[in-house]
């Protein structure tokens, strides 16, 4: 389990807390372990507030204040990212480790042509001439299939559609051919046709360059088709991690099943997996999912479950996992 035997990213026992004045620290991540091999695409699925984005930020070393990494280690190609200084980290981010964020309009610089925003990354990180950087940027616009790339090179973000702005953000992330790509809900705002094109593109790049990808999404359907492995996160803990096929053949955690049930249009079946009476909240002593769990037993509110193996490469954090035979 120890060391980094070829993993591109190795997160172990990562804790992130948000201290709150006069109250208990809110732990956004509670001992997350995650490994991604070169060329592998892992889907991380959870609802809003589950800690997905915090994990992405923590890997980048960019936990927003007042949040702090309390414990744990993030090894990127053998280097501990949490121990890097600001200067050293800046050289890694964007060059070897890139992030695709949602809400492109908020993240792009509104007063700079989009072509220039891509070219700046290449210029800064690759040490090429401005002319060469511009050429690379134009190639990138073509690669993400922006129509009429020569004209769009000089366009400002507000002149682009949401889908096009999102592709510009992807172009910025991928322009230096990074070794690890973190995509944070990057395709959720796109049309289905554009989404599949963008995902195909991302997948091609991962294969070609053996880049590892952490694909964060709230849409479990995407992971079924694009990710080799899938991890489900709930309240800062990974509750199930498995090979995609194994997961979709038999998800074991009640929360995973609830996520799948959201796609079913049989309200009766969906209702069986959704607990309505308990008004949310996170349990303190036992399993974090217990208040919403339809399989809850007394033990679940007293003792926190640990991640244990159900089958080869298929781990579940639940006292009473759903079994195939159940």
């Amino acid at each position: 389990m120890s060391g980094s035997d070829g993993a591109m990213l190795d997160v172990s026992n990562l804790w992130v807390g948000f201290p709150s004045y006069g109250e208990q620290t809110h732990h956004a991540l509670k001992g997350v372990d995650l490994r991604i091999a070169p060329g592998e695409m892992i889907g991380l699925v959870g609802e809003s507030g589950s800690g997905k984005t915090t994990l992405a930020r923590a890997i980048m070393g960019l936990v927003p204040p007042p949040g702090v990494v309390e414990k744990g280690r993030v090894l990127f190609a053998g280097r501990d990212l949490t121990a890097l200084g600001d200067e050293a980290r800046r050289a890694v981010l964007g060059r070897e480790l890139a992030m695709v964020i949602p809400n492109p309009r908020a993240e792009l610089n509104p007063v700079l042509p989009v072509g220039r925003q891509i070219s700046n990354v290449a210029f800064y990180h690759l040490g090429v001439s401005r002319k060469e950087a511009d050429r690379i940027a134009l190639d990138m616009l073509r690669a993400v299939r922006i129509p009429d790339p020569e004209r769009r090179f000089a366009a400002y973000p507000h002149e682009l559609s949401g889908g096009m702005a999102q592709r510009v953000v992807i172009a910025i992330a991928l322009v230096c051919w990074p070794r690890l790509v973190i995509s944070d809900d990057a395709t959720s705002g796109l049309d289905v046709t554009v989404q599949s094109q963008v995902l195909d593109l991302l997948q091609t790049m991962v294969r070609e360059k053996q880049a590892a990808t952490l694909f964060i999404t709230r849409d479990i359907a995407i992971t079924a088709h694009f990710c080799a492995r899938i991890a489900i996160i709930y309240a800062g803990e990974i509750v199930e991690v498995a090979d995609t096929r194994s997961f979709f053949t038999r998800p074991h955690h009640p929360y995973s099943i609830m996520l799948l049930a959201a796609f079913s249009h049989n309200p009766a079946l969906r209702a069986r997996w959704t607990r309505t009476e308990a008004a949310g909240g996170v349990a303190t002593g036992g399993c974090a999912f217990a208040p919403r769990c339809v399989r809850r037993q007394p033990r679940c509110t007293q003792e926190a479950p640990v991640l244990r193996q159900m089958a080869a490469g298929h781990d579940v954090r639940c006292h009473f996992p759903v079994d195939a035979a159940a």
Binding site: G189, V192, T193, A224, L259, L260, F263, P267, R270, V322
Partner: protein, 344 residues
């Protein structure tokens, strides 16, 4: 019985400043909605679906065409702001957080439409409590501000504000796109329940196709401002007959790795610019079936089955494709098997 809403040949052109060009946002769209019915308008961004909704509401004026609501034309002087129609046609927005006033408590937001209808305070309060209960909004929420609520609860409040006047028609502009799948499922259930109870008609404008099938009675597929196919929801999802519908539906990802996308029609690129559209079929540039006729002549809707209209010269070739299996139906069967064991 005549339809409650009848839209005929709706055209909306936006002139481009400084040029003689126009953006042809909506190009002769016609459809009807009956009482208590849901019509979904689906299409990619840029297809003109939101513009259609705004024209119906009278938020923008149509360039030409007729919009008849309850037997009388909508237009200048008769839109959702006029006294006679106030509260009868309502709107639910995409971004729940942005469509609620951040400084007003949810209870007051819900009551606001009633104030403009002249309902007195006691009746308003009573109605707000009724609606909150109906929507499954906990009573405490009425005293909270939008920022204190989850996106799902915010959208519930947005729907509550729309249905509190007991409207006959609600225009839902991407009501679930900003939500988690779990919250989305709850909102869909809520919309279906409200319709069953009050007989409200919905015009659902969305690109979220997986919800469309189960909410809608009929679906109209919009491409570059024209309806290319209109059919009952079941029929469209089981056997789409327009190449664009096939491509659109096969792009929808379902949470099962076995249900891969069909490859007969892959839509490459994005929707082209709606400025100065060429003659002929709008899809011709992206369609594998396109020939000289498609580029020269604009196809008109053909009835291929009751209530099923396709605007394509080659719909028989699309019908002959053998790989348009109904993934949606297969997924529902498979997921039913998965979900039927192990609960509580």
């Amino acid at each position: 019985m005549s339809a409650m809403l009848d839209v005929q040949n709706l055209v909306k052109l936006f002139p481009l400043a400084g040029t003689r060009k126009v953006v042809q946002a909506v190009n002769g769209v016609s459809f009807t909605i009956n009482r208590g019915e849901t019509l979904s308008l689906v299409g990619e961004s840029g297809s003109g679906k939101t513009t259609v909704g705004r024209c119906i509401l009278g938020l923008i004026d149509a360039t030409s065409g007729d919009i008849i609501f309850d037997g009388q034309p909508m237009g200048r002087g008769r839109d959702i702001r006029s006294k006679a129609l106030r509260g009868r046609v309502q709107l639910v927005f995409q971004e729940p957080a942005e469509s609620l006033d951040p400084r007003i408590r949810i209870g007051a937001t819900l009551a606001e439409p009633l104030r403009f209808l002249g309902v007195n305070r006691a009746d308003r309060d009573k109605r707000v409590r009724e609606v909150a209960e109906h929507l499954g909004l906990p009573a405490r929420v009425l005293d909270q501000y939008p920022a204190e609520l989850s996106a799902g609860l915010q959208q519930r409040a947005g729907i509550g504000r729309a249905v509190i006047t007991r409207p006959e028609l609600v225009i839902l502009d991407e009501p679930t796109s900003a939500l988690d799948p779990t919250a989305r499922a709850e909102i869909v259930d809520l919309l279906i329940r409200l319709q069953a109870e009050f007989g409200t008609a919905y015009l659902l404008i969305t690109h979220d196709l997986s919800t469309v099938r189960f909410v809608s009675h009929r679906v109209a597929v919009l491409y570059l401002g024209s309806i290319v196919e209109e059919a009952p929801a079941e029929a469209l999802f089981a056997r789409p007959l327009h190449p664009y519908s096939v491509g659109l539906l096969s792009s929808v990802l379902l949470p099962d790795p076995a249900l891969t996308r069909t490859s007969a029609v892959r839509l490459e690129g994005e929707i082209p610019s709606p400025i100065d559209l060429p003659p002929g079929c709008a899809l011709a540039g992206r369609c594998p079936f396109a020939d000289a006729r498609c580029r020269a002549e604009r196809p008109v809707p053909v009835a291929v089955a009751p209530q099923h209209f396709v605007s394509c010269f080659h719909h028989d070739k699309v019908a002959a494709l053998d790989d348009t299996t109904d993934n949606f139906a297969r997924f529902q069967e498979d997921s039913a098997r998965l979900l039927s064991v192990g609960a509580g």
